[in-house]
């Protein structure tokens, strides 16, 4: 549904993105994950026809974004970063205006307006003046605008920015429910968000895509070791040294809590049973033993600070 090939963009002498290529299949939800100024917004602006690429091509819904700009724009619902709202308009007025610009007929517009305001939780706010809305509601109005003409492709730039935790969950659930019917490309710099809402994650840094895969695969690929966390009741200094003598254990580090340790073991090994036996055998009093999952956050830090490519 979305294909980008070798997208490169210069702002004057400043290079914003370099050779960005990716594909998003129909019905997929994909996140662009990257620190600020990584090139997420620039890529999205090229896809939506707001900016031309310096070189490279992109197709959205089968249309070339440069050659068939109007057709492309018709198939995209776009939520720009920092919602693009007219503060002096009422929510209903604003959505009607956007609907007309999308070429919607009166009856269709009335029906969709009801649907999107309901879907985005704006029922009580349709007659409010946009300037008076909280940032959470402003964000929802912008999202409603993107959904309004029922476009096959949704491009959402930082859709949950400025929301409180409850609203974030609501918006994430909403986005998740859009998959299947819509192809969704969203950008975020919040890692759990990408992990929770998206089937695939593209990590972008310094204008380059450094990794693309399912969140689980990314964490697995970058993982250097299996890590276990143990906590004991009767601590003594010999524990780390004695543990280290077990084969396949590569390192023992002190944990975050008192009397706890992180144990790194070889990739693919599962030493939970032998370690438990060992601790119990020494009478240290096993309080806890669990595997530590590497979060996407760690992957992200790994990839974006050391600029290390994966796969």
């Amino acid at each position: 549904m979305i294909q980008a090939e070798g997208l490169t963009k210069y702002y004057g002498p400043h290079l914003a993105i370099v050779d960005v290529s990716f594909e998003v299949a129909t019905g997929e939800i994909v996140a662009f994950l990257g620190p600020n100024a990584a090139g997420k917004t620039t890529t999205m602006r090229i896809l939506t026809g707001y900016l031309p690429a310096t070189s490279g091509t992109a197709q959205v819904a089968g249309f070339d974004v440069a050659e068939q700009s109007l057709e492309t724009r018709r198939s995209i619902g776009y939520m720009p970063e920092g919602p693009a709202l007219y503060n002096d308009m009422r929510v209903r007025q604003y959505l009607r205006y956007c609907g007309r610009l999308n070429g919607m007929g009166r009856a269709e517009l009335a029906e969709r307006l009801e649907y999107v305001t309901d879907r985005c939780g704006l029922n009580g706010q349709v007659d409010s003046i946009i300037a008076t809305l909280s940032s959470g509601y402003r964000q929802r109005v912008s999202l409603a605008q993107a959904l309004l003409h029922n476009p096959p492709v949704l491009i959402l730039d930082e859709p949950t920015i400025g929301l409180d935790p409850n609203q974030i969950i609501e918006v994430r659930d909403l986005i998740k429910s859009l998959g299947g019917d819509h192809t969704v490309l969203l950008s975020t710099h919040i890692l759990p968000e990408a992990q929770m809402t998206c089937e695939r994650v593209m990590i972008i840094n310094n204008g380059q895509i450094v990794a693309v895969d399912r969140p689980e695969v990314l964490t697995a690929q970058i993982r250097q070791a299996e890590t276990l966390m143990v906590r004991v009741q009767n601590d003594n200094e010999t524990i780390p040294r004695l543990l280290q003598d077990i084969s396949q254990i590569t390192a023992v580090r002190p944990g975050e809590q008192a009397r706890s340790y992180y144990i790194d073991t070889e990739v693919g090994s599962d030493l939970r049973a032998p370690i438990a036996e060992f601790i119990v055998g020494h009478g240290w009093g096993l309080l806890a033993l669990r595997p530590v999952e590497m979060s996407l956050e760690d992957v992200f830090r790994e990839l974006t600070t050391e600029e290390k490519g994966v796969g």
Binding site: R73, R74, P80, A84, L85, Y97, N102
Partner: protein, 239 residues
Amino acid sequence: MRNALTIAGKELRSYVASPLAYVVALLLLGVSGYVFTILILASPRAQTEHLGGVIGFMVSMMLLLVPLLTMGLLSQEKSSGTIELLMTRPVRDWEIVMGKYLGALGLVLPIFIITLQFPLIIELGGDLDWGMVLANYIGLVLAVMAFLAVGLFASSLTSNQIVAAVLGFSFLVLFWFIGIASYAVTARLGDVFKHLSILENLLDFSKGIIDTKSIVYFVTLIAYALFATVRSLENRRAT
């Protein structure tokens, strides 16, 4: 064109909702009404010439007021980021420009309809040459249409409303007074400056002459300013 009308409707609605439009209308109608009343009271008999004076006065006021009306048209979309919404909807750049232009025109023209009371008052109390009235009003409307187009262009150049207003006013003043240069240069070059001047092209209308040359001048100025605005928007895409 449907899109342009949608945008025009939206602009008109936000004008009507803002105090700026009323201040401008009040100033224009109040001051021109005041001037008209003085002219009528000061002379024994109401005459068509009085109308010419008031209309000339209105045109010069619009020179100052139009940049205030047009300053936000595009600059505000830029500063608030809504330009990104507008330019990613299936709307052509010229439709955006036409929409903005027609919206502003839709605000100003009704104000001029109210000023038709001046010729009607003269008709009641004296003798009125309706041909003169027509020529004067054609001049007024053409000049204001040109002001709006130039003001809109200025608004497309910046994201700062004040800068847009100052730029628009500067462009208009330049076109207004460029004819003066004819006194300092050779006759042939002086003619060129005169032909470029808004003021010179308005003179015929105020004398009751509808000259094709002046109509062509204003239509060209309007078309050129709107075209430049479209290019200015396109240029944003290209940078």
